[in-house]
């Protein structure tokens, strides 16, 4: 059922990675992504790859789930490999036809690029597997909070509030969409067959009631929030406080060491 949808792809478990502060995970993901691109040779990249692999094993999320994620981006990886295969012309020519040729350099380049994309996907997936959307929202709010010093005080709070409300209403709206679809089907609406244009047209009687009811919901929610003394971010306190633990510092240390090694390897090789 649509109702049981879990958004994001949080995989409940109790691992070292799960228990890290969401801010730590987010910052480390950014660092790892940067260093995937900073790595200029296979040795440096495999260092980053080892770090990612190590954290994946630590997360205790079944590898099957990562493969499932990769399947979706497989066409992009293949496409990138093909482009790179003919683009770089260094090294010995292996195969050559028409004006195109595959060289050792281009072959190396193709696999190198594919590895980069793979690592990107795996690292980002790990964050969503091990962190709930709510924690991610809290982390974004906290990480962006320095922005309030440059006059964006309310913007950070508003963004976080919007994300919280969006997460809260996704299942409600999915349920509502299902109800409207059923109501329209009961009146003989044909949603599944016909040409693409017909099917898009058939969506209009679903989207319009959905839009109208969302506006009504928004209005009622605004009143309810006002009744609960909501007054923007001014003077607002949070019940849940994020706190760094010793594990977070260990994780930071490990990633810093690996990143430093990557820089060193880049310079030496």
């Amino acid at each position: 059922m649509l109702k049981d949808i879990t958004f994001g792809q949080y995989y409940e478990n109790d691992s070292f990675v799960h228990k890290l502060d969401p801010r730590t995970k987010m910052l480390l993901l950014i660092a790892v992504i940067v260093f995937i691109f900073v790595s200029q040779n296979a040795v440096a990249l495999s260092l980053v790859a080892l770090l990612i692999l190590f954290s994946v094993l630590l997360s205790k999320v079944p590898l099957k789930m990562y493969f499932k994620n990769l399947k979706a981006v497989f066409p992009i990886i293949i496409f990138t490999m093909i482009i790179n295969l003919f683009y770089n012309a260094s090294g010995d020519v292996l195969v050559s036809f028409w004006k195109l040729s595959i060289t050792t350099g281009s072959l190396y380049r193709a696999f190198y690029m594919a590895a980069r994309i793979l690592l990107l996907i795996i690292a980002s997936a790990e964050l969503t597997y091990t962190t709930t959307p709510n924690d991610l929202t809290d982390a974004i709010e906290k990480l962006l909070s320095p922005l309030k010093f440059i006059g964006l005080k309310n913007a950070v709070h508003t963004l976080a509030m919007m994300m919280t409300i969006a997460l809260r209403f996704i299942p409600t709206l999915i349920e509502e969409t299902q109800k409207i679809m059923n109501a329209q089907k009961a009146r003989g609406a044909d949603l599944e067959s016909g040409k693409l244009i017909d099917r898009i047209k058939a969506l209009i009687p679903i989207l319009i009631p959905l839009l109208i009811s969302s506006v009504r919901r928004a209005y009622e929610l605004a009143e309810a929030m006002e009744c609960r003394c909501y007054n923007g971010g001014e003077g607002r306190q949070r019940m849940k406080q994020l706190k760094y633990h010793s594990n977070d510092f260990i994780a930071f240390a490990v990633v810093v060491v690996v990143c430093a090694t990557v820089v060193a390897v880049n310079m030496i090789l």
């Binding site: 997460l167 919901r217 929030m225 009744c227 609960r228």
Partner: protein
């Protein structure tokens, strides 16, 4: 007992289009501290508007509403008035803000800027008082309508209000959810001493109230005890209220010439009443 809310000769008009729509005119009402008041009325009787006026969500066009002596038009005390008079709405889905129960309940105290550990205590206490403590880590969309509405009530209780106004809190619920809400409200009134103003169009919910007010087109047409109101079925029907089946039966028996009163609601009491009446006639 003193009055927690004093409504003094208020007038309220909607001004969203060219024409002015007067909902309430020269309307007065006092709510006693610690009381359980039910306001009965059909759609369009002005009862929902009254609810939104009581905590200052809407501002009166004329007259004055005092909450503990503070006017709801007083901009300076706007937040404090909303804290003292909590408002619960009809649709539980449209009142919940966060996707985790305890975080939603924390929303009110968070806005009031309480310290994190104080909020924690307020949230736990509020959840316990509505019997939803074991669901604190759950997500609202997996709960039933009655449970969601109890969370909405907990969200108000967490702000430690003196009075809760509930605007048709059971209208969208099934009978089970309705019973849950009514017993929660009664408990809050008796055990926590919170003043309750319950706005509804279900007569049954007024049985245990201290006072029942019947409203029709912006006016109070009756204001008395539940027993008194329920014996006046003709009036209730005139203002378009749904009368419970048992009361309806008693009413018809009465108008058919049986010597019977219509001031009970429960099936058992009604059965006893009919039995007694038949018995009496036989003698």
């Amino acid at each position: 007992m003193d009055n927690i809310i004093e409504v003094k000769n208020i007038t309220f008009e909607y001004e969203d289009s060219d024409q002015k729509d007067t909902v309430l005119k020269d309307f007065s009402l006092n709510i006693k501290r610690g009381s359980f008041t039910v306001i009965l009325g059909h759609n369009g009787s002005g009862k929902s508007t009254l609810a939104k006026l009581l905590n200052g969500l809407y501002k009166v066009t004329d007259g004055e509403i005092l909450v503990d002596g503070i006017s709801t038009s007083d901009e300076e005390h706007e937040i404090e008035i909303k804290r003292r008079v909590g408002l619960v709405f009809q649709n539980p889905d449209n009142q919940l803000v966060a996707s985790i129960v305890e975080e939603d309940v924390a929303f009110g105290p968070e806005n009031l800027g309480h310290a994190p550990d104080v909020i924690r205590a307020e949230v736990d206490e509020a959840l316990k008082s509505v019997g939803m403590y074991e669901f604190r880590k759950s997500t609202p969309h997996r709960l039933s309508g009655g449970q969601k509405q109890r969370i909405a009530i907990a969200g108000i209780i967490a702000m430690k209000p003196d009075c809760i106004v509930l605007d048709e809190p059971t209208a969208m619920l099934d009978p089970k959810g309705r019973a849950e809400i009514i017993s929660t409200i009664k408990k809050l009134n008796r055990e926590n001493g919170i003043t309750i103003v319950l706005i509804t169009h279900f007569m049954e919910e007024a049985v245990d109230a201290d006072r029942v007010i019947v409203m029709d087109s912006g006016k109070i047409v009756a204001d008395s005890t539940p027993k008194d109101i329920f014996s006046n079925i003709k009036l209730l029907k005139e203002v378009g209220l749904d009368v419970p089946q048992t009361t309806e039966l008693l009413y018809r028996l009465k108008s058919g010439g049986m010597n019977i009163t219509t001031d009970v609601i429960s099936i058992e009491e009604s059965a006893q009443k009919i039995y007694d009446a038949i018995h009496l006639e036989e003698i």
